[in-house]
Symmetry: C2
């Protein structure tokens, strides 16, 4: 990664694309990294970037009322095409008025294409040149996905952003496999773009994002990024990360792809991640993230706090009167001592995961808000140095604080 030339620290609005309700304005860039702050416009509202998108796989962010999702700081959320296709089916979602009504979420929504499920459900999927056949996780019946079919399903679901159907290879360092996946991803993107245009393109209120594959290989990432950007789409994603590779490989994948992506379109790093990942990726020019981490960890009673991660079932907190995180304004932190949260978690009461989910989402969204503010004041490196060491250690025993 090479640093761009020094720039003035103040926020600098830069001319950007604007098309059919979509747009991306760059508001500020960091002087010592590729970090940028922007505003991604969609027909359902604008998303200040960098942003984290909570995951609502089956049409609900697990354990959260949509009203509380917005209060926690979410602006844009995800749903999954493959899961919603299986149940309840895209026709029913369309019949009921589309995904925004279905999820009771009037902000922007993005649908993942199912490409990642081809990887994550690899044991029950078979890939060929035309598409993928998976076994339904609902009833075991075979499900056929092709690029056209996926775009058709996403059109009916009606999210603001539809992800193209890609092939996410299982091992990002197995060159032959990654080459084949890149070739399929390139060809399938052409088919997705054609089908998306047949449906009316962005004028329908739905933009298509391409996904760049290429594993850990600089040449493959470059070629795949160039093939993707040839289509002039509303945004570009970096896929094939968060599949078990190490942190250096993830950083390399970003560094290999971003130089070949247009500056005036949002860049979305799929399936990432942790606070450290956010800094790593934002410094390399990434704008959007999604991950199940905050919600899944909450259901396992793990909380992210300004002093590190902690597990609320731990006996350490048995009689701890302190708030979960004294810096957090969420209901879990302002209305309950840790000891009560621990009681709810050890008693397997729903309220435990409900409160921790709100907390973790609030933590993630506030972290991204601080990152945005630091880009605008060009103090991102300072924020990283101040914040990250405390976040990466387990919270200290209150008795020793």
């Amino acid at each position: 990664m090479s640093a761009p030339p020094p720039r003035p620290a103040a926020a600098t609005p830069l001319a950007q694309f604007r098309r059919a309700g979509f747009g991306f304005e760059l508001l500020a860039r960091a002087s010592s990294s590729a970090a940028r702050a922007g505003l991604f416009r969609t027909p359902h509202g604008a998303v200040p970037t960098p942003a984290f998108m909570p995951v609502g796989t089956k049409g609900t962010v697990k354990g959260v009322f949509p009203r509380d999702l917005a209060a926690a700081g979410a602006t844009m959320i995800l749903a999954n095409t493959y899961h919603l296709h299986l149940r309840p089916g895209e026709d029913l979602v369309a019949e009921l008025g589309g995904l925004h009504r279905f999820m009771d979420w009037q902000g922007p929504i993005l649908t993942d294409s199912g490409g990642y499920q081809v990887f994550s459900l690899g044991h029950i999927s078979a890939i060929d040149e035309q598409g993928v056949t998976l076994r339904s996780i609902v009833d075991g019946s075979p499900v056929r996905l092709t690029p056209e079919r996926v775009v058709d399903i996403e059109r009916k679901l009606g999210a603001d952003v539809a992800m193209a159907f890609d092939h996410c290879p299982a091992d990002p360092s197995a060159r032959a496999d990654v080459e084949a996946a890149c070739e399929r991803t390139r060809r399938w993107l052409e088919q997705c773009v054609r089908r998306h245009r047949e449906h009316g393109g962005e004028e329908t209120g739905q933009a298509l994002f391409a996904i760049v594959q290429g594993g850990v290989f600089e040449d493959l990432r470059r070629e795949n990024a160039r093939a993707a950007t040839a289509h002039d789409l509303a945004g570009y994603a970096i896929g094939g990360v968060s599949v078990g590779e190490d942190r250096a490989q993830m950083r390399a994948a970003i560094e290999h792809a971003t130089p070949h992506l247009p500056h005036d379109r949002p860049r979305y790093l799929m399936g990432v991640g942790t606070p450290e990942d956010f800094f790593d990726a934002v410094e390399r020019g990434v704008d959007l993230f999604d991950c199940v981490t905050p919600t899944r960890h909450a259901r396992n009673h793990n909380a992210f706090t300004s002093r590190g991660k902690l597990n609320l079932r731990n006996a350490t907190y048995r009689s701890d009167p302190a708030p979960l995180d004294p810096e957090c304004p969420c209901p879990a932190c302002t209305r309950y001592p840790r000891a009560v949260l621990r009681h709810l978690c050890t008693s397997d009461e729903m309220l435990g995961p409900m409160l921790l989910t709100l907390h973790n989402l609030t933590f993630f969204h506030r972290l991204l808000a601080r990152i945005r503010a630091a880009i605008e004041t060009d103090t991102l490196a300072d924020l990283r140095a101040t914040l990250l060491p405390a976040l990466q250690h387990p919270a200290r025993d209150p008795a020793t604080q």
Copy 2:
């Protein structure tokens, strides 16, 4: 049950007891039944009666944020002494500031005494003349409960109302067993009253309610009620119902007890019930109810509606665009079609039970509010005739409506 003499229909404030932050004002009485509308005052606020109290056994009404509990119409809630004694322990609750802070509920709270658990956990409990030994459902260790011990625990928990420790017999029609249970209940109440006074009585902000046993036997209910009222307490409960007896037996138990309870104290029918039960009991002079029905049914995807009970996992609702209950103002009914609620339930998403719990509680509290209003306008019989037939049938298939 004999009807009282006719009275004017208008609300008639009647002089009532008032003591140390507690009081009960009768605001209206029905002309053709023993139904009455009142206001039960506690140090944490007043409860318009008849009222339904949601059950928060372990310190949380399952699946509900306290803020939403109030919005659903709850004024007073329950917690359970036995469960909270086991985990997290009354000392910790006291240390953290008492049950109101622990539950994040600033309204009135009542703690059940554990007497019911002696019945419901009968297979792991042994009763003697001095108290009960149960096996802990947390770790299997023996737990000894005596009348004094229970009052001590309840004092530390710090609810507005503490229930006396009673013996709830398993079979309300086995005379010898019920007689023995009445005798223990009478003797234990004396011990509870003494201990409660030693702690400072109602001046501490906590009132003691007695529980009347006696099964299906008129003479035993009468004797037990007279023994209880000799203590001049802030309220009286009818126990030993909702243990598997039929509806006629439950009505008989109420009719045998209420004539011997003072008019100017609230009467609480423990563990009841269903919409039909509320009418039956209110007509016989009952003011307070608690039951796990609305919350437990919600977790099993059952909803109470103005047109009957329905199970949201039923295929009938697969593509049903109608609201769950068109007459209900809760988030489940105003923000989602039945088809989405069914999707959430069949997909085992937390949001399904979360929404149905809010709905069922809203339904119960609105039903009780209508019952109160009908008593005030002396139209309770009309309300029963209008409302109950629709409530008691399964909701019709929307295709045939």
